[in-house]
């Protein structure tokens, strides 16, 4: 399967790989997908007191498109507030990475990961 140069770039030089302390109140963690389906994404965001995402990290088990989708969203998330983060659509990701139709689910998973991370942060900080 031929991938776009952008997928190959993110796959070969993934941005923001790693983990943040999931017990930190400032950190929201989202883990979506399942090994049985061939992809699992873990996305973490660190939100400042001003409500702006300061840092984002990911780890992904999955195909090249899944890795590239999660790498891309970590770049996009930094500097956004939570509402802006939640406005990121899977179609934006698919378009940026020029994903073929069979790989669209990778971008859906990345969107779900953002929503899960934001939800986790909000749950932690609503008390």
């Amino acid at each position: 399967m031929a991938y776009s140069n952008k997928v190959v770039d993110h796959y070969e030089n993934p941005r923001n790989v790693g983990a943040l302390d999931k017990n930190d109140a400032q950190v929201g963690t989202g883990m979506v997908g399942a090994p049985a389906c061939g992809d699992v994404m873990k996305l973490q965001i660190k939100v400042g007191t001003d409500g702006i995402i300061q840092d984002a990290k990911f780890k992904t088990y999955g195909c090249g498109s899944a890795i590239a989708s999660s790498s891309l969203v970590t770049e996009w998330l930094k500097g956004k507030n939570l509402d802006q983060a939640q406005a990121i659509k899977n179609s934006d990701i698919a378009e940026e990475l020029e994903l073929p139709p069979v790989k669209i689910h990778c971008s859906v998973l990345a969107e779900d990961a953002i929503k899960a991370a934001v939800a986790d942060y909000r749950t932690k900080n609503s008390k």
């Binding site: 049985a36 389906c37 061939g38 780890k59 088990y61 195909c63 890795i67």
Partner: protein, 413 residues
């Protein structure tokens, strides 16, 4: 010798044409262009002589009479002709067929088609090592069973079935036995003279021959009859009409002759390379061999690298050409049905890579492959949340995963 990249380690998909085979084919692509069915001039006579020589070569390589060889377009056509041809011819005796879940799609899809037109098929599950339990096969036989089809060597995991024992069982019960031997020639030593096999399918391009040519062996004593699928001209004793492709037939004959001649010297070398590859990969943790190692051809290695997804691994090792059982390599998004039939979980099926070694691979290439795999698996595991969980002592297999199915349904349906 300098290492040439990429390295081809996918010989179970197809092999490179041996230059010695090409040399034999060339005259029939140039000056010797006659139709072997032309009886009225020298062009036809020399083409016919070449076809008959190749028929002898194939017959002698597999241990049968040359009159039992039927040329086809490849193993897929041979399997179709064997299974459909026998089922249709003998349907008055019964309409039940038996095969195995790990067969090639050429057999499975042919069986599905026969089910559509009123036949009944039993698909046996192999043991976790990929081998068929003969007591389970015997138990599946019914009074109306007319044909059993089992592959000699599995294309994904390379395991070798006990064709001799299955043949004896079939003969005793009076059931036609077809064997898909596309992956067996030059890899397993056998002779049809010693086996109770009625029909056997072969391909040239898995044995360093050209694509587009195959053979169906049809036993004469006791005689097996088939309903032909392709009509027109009555070539190949009516089993398969159509002008014979002389150059490809010559290539298949030469390739089969070479394969059996060189097997004794070639197999120990290939096995040495395969074992070295396996030992190198097993230096890493959480690497699983798929299929039995002992009852396996020397050419094949199928391993799962746990917590790494197969397609992304193939992307990482693009200097080597291999196959993966990962869903992402197919349009269906289903992981390898062969590994699933062995009881491997989806996760390990997604993480599998098939390496298949050919006569052209070198030790230097294997050393390079081991080094590359070690480097890339480590890199991808650093990227893998599953590896992180495994390292943290979390049981990944029994972890409660989110409702992934609903997400998939939205996308796929």
């Amino acid at each position: 010798m300098t290492l040439q990249l990429p390295i081809y380690l996918d010989s179970a998909a197809t092999t490179k044409l041996d230059p010695r085979v090409l040399e034999k084919m060339m005259p029939f692509l140039t000056n010797e262009f006659g139709n072997p069915a032309s009886r009225s001039h020298g062009f036809g006579w020399s083409a016919e002589a070449a076809v008959e020589h190749a028929r002898e070569q194939v017959a002698s390589a597999v241990g049968c009479d040359s009159k039992e060889i039927v040329w086809t377009s490849g193993a897929t056509e041979s399997i179709n002709l064997a299974v459909k041809g026998a089922a249709l011819f003998y349907q008055d005796k019964g309409k039940h067929l038996i095969t195995v879940k790990t067969e090639h799609k050429a057999t499975l899809d042919t069986m599905r088609e026969l089910e559509r037109i009123g036949f009944e098929v039993t698909y046996l599950t192999p043991e976790t090592d990929g081998l068929l339990d003969l007591t389970k096969l015997a138990a599946a036989i019914r009074p109306d069973t007319i044909l059993i089809s089992v592959m000699y060597v599995n294309n994904e995991i390379g395991v070798v079935q006990d064709v001799a024992a299955i043949g004896n069982l079939c003969r005793e019960k009076g059931i036609i036995f077809h064997v898909d031997a596309a992956q067996a020639v030059g890899k397993v030593k056998f002779s049809l003279a010693d086996l109770n096999v009625d029909l056997m399918s072969f391909s040239a391009h898995k044995v360093y021959g050209p694509k587009g040519i195959g053979v169906l062996y049809v036993r004469r004593k006791p005689r097996v009859r088939l309903q032909p699928l392709i009509h027109g001209g009555g070539h190949e004793r009516g089993f398969r009409s159509g002008t014979l492709p002389t150059h490809q037939i010559v290539g298949m004959g030469a390739a089969f002759e070479l394969a059996t001649q060189e097997m004794a010297s070639e197999l120990p070398r290939i096995k040495y390379l395969r074992d070295k590859l396996l030992a190198g990969l097993q230096q890493m943790e959480e690497v699983y061999l798929n299929g039995d190692l002992e009852h396996r051809v020397a050419h094949n290695l199928n391993v799962s690298f746990n917590y790494v997804e197969g397609e992304s691994l193939m992307m990482a090792v693009k200097d080597i050409a291999v196959s993966s059982g990962s869903a992402c390599t197919s349009a269906s998004l289903e992981p390898s049905y062969v590994l699933r039939a062995l009881g491997r979980n989806d996760e390990l099926a997604h993480s599998s890579i098939r390496f298949s070694i050919s006569r052209f691979n070198t030790e230097e290439e294997i050393d390079y492959t081991v080094k590359l795999l070690q480097e890339k698996v480590t890199k991808l595991r650093e990227l893998s949340p599953l590896w992180e969980m495994y390292k943290d002592g979390i049981d990944v297999a029994n972890f409660e995963w989110s409702s992934h199915d609903t997400q998939r349904d939205v996308i796929l349906h």
